[in-house]
């Protein structure tokens, strides 16, 4: 199966502002991709380009094997989009909106629609202009996933959801991956939630690619150490090793975030600082995110 989203030297500018700069990226098929980055890093622009709402200033963007600006019925019928807001005809009821959307897809899954309505606790008889922001987001999600999309783009899908609805959504997305075997690209600031389902991380920083890698590989690359000094000594205030990326704690016990070095280097580190690494654990996405950004800044 070809890659559902490929960009080459993708560049998007709005007047003098460069939103994306020379982004070359290939999202593998069948992955759940976490698209992370700071505000203004280009996540939404990338999603806009991927679904054809925006056209590249330079470079190419190919979605489901076709230039994203030329998506036609065959691609659109397997593309799912969950936007932040504004997807609805306000005077309709939830049921009418669902019926309207369903009429354009041959493979609309009614049982899935009903299951989601139940799980997300959304009343189909309600009018759309009476829905809360959270309910609107739920409806947007249902509209985006009931036609078994091969590529699902979710832009901040959980920002207005309560914790219970978030859990339901995450569970559903996991089921979706198993059932549809499609690709999901999810942009979110709720990293602790997202990390439960993603297996690939794309991190953008100021419009450029910071990292695109499997999540487990990143977890193997970085770790958090708990370090204590050998008897009679103290830990230094700052570690000079370039692979020590952050330090917290005092002279008796420190918490280090490190890019994992080789075993020889670890031995050297222990000997040089008279320190013992008493615990090593993988970093979660919330801890990884600032490290990835900082490391890229330092590299530049």
């Amino acid at each position: 199966m070809t890659s559902p989203l490929v960009t080459y030297q993708l560049n998007k500018t709005f007047g003098a502002h460069q939103a994306l700069g020379a982004l070359t990226l290939e999202i593998p098929f069948g992955r759940v991709v976490g698209l992370i980055g700071r505000n203004g890093s280009g996540k939404t622009t990338l999603l806009n380009l991927a679904c054809g709402l925006l056209l590249p200033t330079l470079g190419t963007c190919s979605t489901l094997g076709r230039p994203s600006g030329e998506l036609a019925a065959p691609e659109l019928s397997v593309l799912g989009i969950v936007a932040q807001a504004g997807q609805f005809i306000n005077w309709m009821t939830v049921a009418q909106q669902l019926q309207f959307h369903a009429s354009f897809y041959k493979n609309w899954d009614q049982p899935r629609e009903q299951r989601l309505l139940d799980e997300l606790d959304l009343n189909p008889a309600r009018k759309i202009d009476e829905l809360s922001p959270g309910d609107l987001q739920k409806l947007g999600i249902i509209l985006g996933v009931c036609h078994h999309p091969k590529l699902l783009l979710l832009d901040e899908p959980m920002s207005a959801l309560d914790p219970i609805a978030r859990q339901s959504l995450l569970k559903f997305l996991l089921d979706l991956v198993r059932e549809d075997e499609g690709t999901i690209i999810i942009s979110s600031h709720l990293l602790s939630d997202v990390e439960k389902i993603i297996d690939w991380v794309v991190c953008l920083d100021r419009g450029e690619l910071a990292v695109s890698a499997p999540y487990d590989e990143l977890q193997e690359r970085y770790a958090e150490w708990i370090v204590t000094p050998a008897s009679g000594s103290e830990l230094p205030r700052k570690f000079a090793e370039p692979w020590v990326l952050a330090r917290e704690g005092d002279s008796r016990r420190a918490r280090l975030q490190v890019r994992l070095p080789s075993s020889e280097t670890i031995a050297q580190f222990s000997a040089q600082h008279s320190a013992n690494v008493i615990d090593s654990r993988p970093l979660n996405l919330e801890q990884l995110f600032p490290l990835l950004i900082n490391e890229r800044s330092l590299a530049q």
Partner: protein, 475 residues
């Protein structure tokens, strides 16, 4: 897409309501035109060839355009093809219906040519170019109203033109209909017409920041901010109250500020076209009659009530959160209403007397006068009808940013027309002492009730409207 979904999209009940209201609007307009020009000769062409197609087109266009201009419209597979197929069927049926009705009453007219005209007017509001700048659509609606007015004033002339040039008019009409239809439903135009500012992804932090940066750059040199409050808002002085309408009326963008002028220009242009149909002597005659028409209070009410209803709803916009108390806002609203009425009556009265004098002097015709009794009548009826309409707009929260604005407009027309008929048949009663006493009572009662409604509204309303698309029931 199936017929059931398409029918849902057309909102049958809502559409039927709108068709009914618009039909009454044009019926009223035709009465006024007949009153103005003394033209009582109507025919099926004006009604079924011009008015009904525009009404059908106006109502159904919005239903079809809505999904195409929504952000999701670009992602639904073959949306435009499906909509084009169904809409073509609907418009075809309506064209056949209208043509059939004309054929029934006037079989001399060539049906293909008539069908072409009907088709154009069915589709004329469909192209998205009228929506490029929000208020341009209002101008366009005015233009359509102008065309309809001409069609209703000169139905016989139009009929003769069609009979004289059936092929050229027919071909031109069908070509224009194809152009409108293809332009709207082709895929290429789909992307062009997508309402980019409403697209969800676009409203991301980047574009928001960029917009903010742009707007900061602009405001420093070009954009005029609304005048700051120069008085302590809570002092309750007349100056503080007068600052509120100033804020509302001047705190708009540049285009917004000039739109009333543009609308007047369009109306003026249309009037000029209307008058240009006659020779110079006829223009004066029509103008003189026009002035007499305005001198009658029932007809003047018709226009002033509409203008005032639209203008004062500006105060109900939720964005206008004034730094004065709710009680003061009620007073401001009421004062604006009263002052607006008096100013308009005086201005229009003076204008029509001056114009009439000018025309009468040229032809040695009798000079019309604006009598005190007339002025008093106008005030009384305007306050009564105006208060009623304002009360309705307050009760149902009809604001400028709701779809209900058009309903208000239609309501104003209908009330004014019904009222005109009533006054025209009971005018002599007003000149009696009892009549004047009744007018005084009418003014006092209507204003007491209206002020009570205004106070209650401002005391109980939510200033933030959660669901702007609804005309809304009480919170």
């Amino acid at each position: 897409m199936n017929w059931r979904v398409y029918l849902t999209l057309l909102r049958p009940w809502h559409s039927a309501q709108m068709v009914g209201l618009l039909f009454m609007l044009f019926f009223g307009l035709r009465m006024v035109v007949i009153n103005l020009l003394g033209n009582t000769e109507g025919n099926a062409l004006a009604g079924w060839g011009f008015v009904m197609p525009v009404i059908f087109g106006f109502v159904l266009t919005d239903a079809v355009r809505a999904p195409m201009h929504h952000p999701f419209g670009m992602f639904l597979p073959d949306l435009r093809r499906h909509l084009a197929r169904w809409h073509l069927g609907t418009m075809g049926t309506l064209t056949l219906l209208c043509t059939g009705m004309i054929w029934k009453y006037d079989s001399a007219l060539p049906p293909l040519t008539v069908a072409g005209i009907v088709a154009v007017l069915n589709l004329i509001l469909l192209p998205g170019i009228w929506q490029v700048i929000g208020r341009v659509s209002q101008l366009f609606v005015l233009l359509v109203l102008g065309i309809l007015t001409i069609a209703m004033v000169f139905p016989e002339e139009l009929r003769l033109s069609i009979l004289a040039h059936p092929w050229s008019i027919g071909l031109g009409a069908w070509a224009l209909a194809w152009f409108f239809f293809h332009g709207v439903f082709s895929c290429r135009s789909g992307k062009r017409n997508a309402q980019i500012p409403y697209l969800p992804f676009i409203s991301s932090s980047i574009s928001t920041r960029k917009k903010a940066e742009k707007s900061e750059g602009r405001t420093s040199s070009k954009v005029k901010h609304p005048s700051p409050w120069t008085t302590t808002p809570s002092d309750g002085s007349l100056r503080a109250w007068l600052d509120v309408p100033h804020y509302v009326l001047t705190g708009k963008n540049l285009i917004g500020s000039f739109m009333p002028l543009l609308r007047l220009c369009v109306l003026g242009g249309l009037s000029a076209i209307l008058f240009a149909q006659n020779d110079s002597g006829e223009i004066d005659r029509v103008l003189y009659r026009f002035v007499w028409f305005y001198q009658k209070p029932d007809n003047l009410i018709f226009w002033i009530v509409i203008l005032n209803s639209i203008r004062t709803t500006g105060f109900l916009q939720p964005s206008c959160v004034y730094p004065i108390s709710r009680a003061q806002q009620a007073k401001v609203h009421y004062l604006n209403f009263v002052i607006g009425m008096i100013v308009k009556i005086t201005a229009i009265g003076t204008t029509f007397v001056l114009v009439a004098w000018f025309v009468a002097n040229r032809h040695d015709w009798p000079r019309p006068m604006l009598g005190v009794v007339n002025l008093f009548q106008m005030l009384a009826w305007l306050f009564a009808v105006g208060s009623l309409l304002q009360g309705i707009s307050l009760r149902y929260k009809i604001r400028q940013n709701t779809n209900a604005q058009s309903i208000l407009l239609v309501l104003a027309f209908i009330c004014a027309v019904i009222f005109s008929v009533f006054v025209a048949t009971h005018l002599t009663f007003i000149f009696s002492l009892t009549g004047v006493a009744c007018l005084v009572v009418l003014i006092a009662t209507s204003q007491y009730v209206y002020y009570a409604v205004v106070r209650r509204y401002f005391r109980k309303m939510d200033f933030i409207m959660l669901n702007p698309s609804r005309s809304g029931s009480a919170p």
